[in-house]
Subunit: 112 residues, 2 copies
């Protein structure tokens, strides 16, 4: 198996509605990076999934709701989520997140 | 199991020599984010490990050597590495990477 290199600017942003867009970056079977770009006021509704997830705040400010509790995070902060934990966010200042999943999210690349 | 939040600026950078420093950010048993800060000319020698790794270029420009081939990457680019593939880098313009591992790197947090 070889490495896979993804040039970020070559990947179009996919609008998800609610002021949130995403682009899927490099991924293997076991590890996927997804960039999430948010306008101020953008919302990622509370949801769960069986994947392990880490999130890195690349830019901006966000209020996460995790298991019912609120946490404010900003550039350079990061979060490790266990599987199946309810989580969502509101964007307080426009910016971008990296959502990282193991295993990869097959539902994000149905064409793969 | 609960989520774990890490405030990036609270984690001291650990100098590794050769113009490269790192700080371990949020991690769980299955997923770890490590920030790698590089001066121009900084080197990460070619090495292998059994973990799956993805790398995201947060800032700067780097020349990676992967399985003997050279690839230049810059801000916003990302790489998915399979386990055990030989990889290393030279920093062409000062910046920072995020190295992401599954499972987490126990050797990076011997105190844990």
């Amino acid at each position: 198996m070889d490495a896979k290199i993804v040039c970020g600017r070559d990947v179009p942003l996919q609008p998800l509605g609610g002021g949130v867009s995403r682009r899927v970056l490099a991924y293997s079977e076991q590890l996927m990076i997804v960039e999430v770009v948010c306008e101020q006021g953008g919302v990622g509704s509370v949801h769960t999934h069986p994947h392990w997830q880490n999130t890195y705040i690349r830019e901006g400010r966000f209020r996460f709701t995790i298991n019912g509790a609120e946490h404010e995070v900003a550039e350079g902060d990061s979060i490790a989520f266990p599987p199946d934990i309810p989580h969502g966010m509101v964007c307080l200042e426009a910016g971008a997140l990296l959502d990282i999943f193991t295993p990869m999210r097959k539902d994000f690349v149905p064409e793969a």
